[in-house]
């Protein structure tokens, strides 16, 4: 007889001792009534027991245990005694002053160019293309030109009207 298909997870959880009290109660009620689940549960327990037996559990000898402890303590002592690599590198004679001088030069150089960029905003605008303000001015100028043109058209129309009138007379 096969185990209930919807109970397979419960069988495994029960075998691993991972059922919560509610699940356990339900499982204990179901187990005596179902031969399939009971057989499968026993088979899983036997398998897990067999696997556990077949895997050796080595004992850490006193000597090895001491060796691990000694190595860990030695490495930690060594690390504590040694400053970090960059501290060690800087502290060496003749390195701190050149390092600081280089840092100062770098700061001054970047500072200079940085100021230069702040002081010349036009350059920025050029590089970014025409600003919104400029675009508005250009648009206004175009409108004025259009109005002038329309006014010219009106004058021409009036002139044509006068000429036409004269011709008709």
């Amino acid at each position: 007889m096969k185990a209930c298909p919807d109970r397979y997870d419960t069988i495994l959880l029960a075998a691993y001792g991972e059922l919560n009290p509610e699940q356990r109660q339900d499982w204990e009620r179901h187990l005596p009534a179902c031969t399939g689940c009971s057989d499968e549960y026993q088979a899983v327990l036997r398998l897990l027991g067999r696997i556990k037996e077949s895997m050796p559990v080595p004992e850490l000898s006193e000597k090895r245990a001491r060796s691990i402890l000694w190595s860990v303590k030695r490495e930690l002592r060594k690390e504590k005694a040694q400053p970090s690599w960059w501290k060690e590198w800087l502290v060496r004679p003749g390195r701190l002053v050149p390092a600081l001088a280089t840092a100062c030069i770098v700061l001054i150089t970047f500072g200079w160019f940085g100021m230069d960029l702040i002081q010349s905003p036009d350059m920025d605008q050029d590089s970014m293309g025409p600003s919104v303000e400029n675009q508005a001015v250009v648009r206004d100028l175009e409108l004025i030109k259009d109005i002038d043109f329309l006014e010219d058209l009106d004058t021409l129309q009036e002139l044509v009207t006068v000429l036409d009138r004269n011709e008709s007379i």
């Binding site: 398998l47 067999r50 895997m55 060796s67 691990i68 402890l69 860990v72």
Partner: protein
Amino acid sequence: MNPQSGPSIGLENDASPSRVKDEDLVFRARAHDPSAIEELVHRYQQKAYVVAFHLSDENEQDAEDLTQEAFLRAFQKLKTFRGDSSFYTWFYRILVNVCLDGRRRRKRWRQVFLPWQHDSTDKGLSPEERPDPEAHERSLKAISEKQLSRDIRKSLKSLPEKQRLAFQLKALHGMSIQEIARIMGTAEGTVKSHLFRATHFLREKFKDWEEA
């Protein structure tokens, strides 16, 4: 025969009243107190060694090196331990990571320097080792205890890494699913899924043995 009832090598704490709490030892170890470091190593090295032994394909020297490396890394990172979980869960997470890193390193090393050697640890059994189904069926009935043990170990090695890890920590080391989830840095449901798949695979594999 409940696997939980055997000699436990799990993570349960010894609750004797005279025992100094892990948290106190961690606090002192942070201040480089050698006696606290010594006590923490002494407290967990046997269990850590067994875990490392099983995760390093049962090599004693590797297990020793990995245990040592895990302790060292734990003490180096002790300042980052915030106490969200217990010290042993935090430490075992480091240990498992060290073991998995070590295994990957060895695998890479073998691939680079010994490419002609077939790696049977992650890809399952080699063709020579893999018995054909019929012969396997016939021989299972007559298989000796030793052979069965070897077969079980080979099958465990052929499991995918996460399934194998979840299964080993549960079935061999008696850890709870909650602890395994913390150690693996994953959800409990995922651990259950790995565990069920591994158990199902082994159950299917050794069904014949069970019937015999």
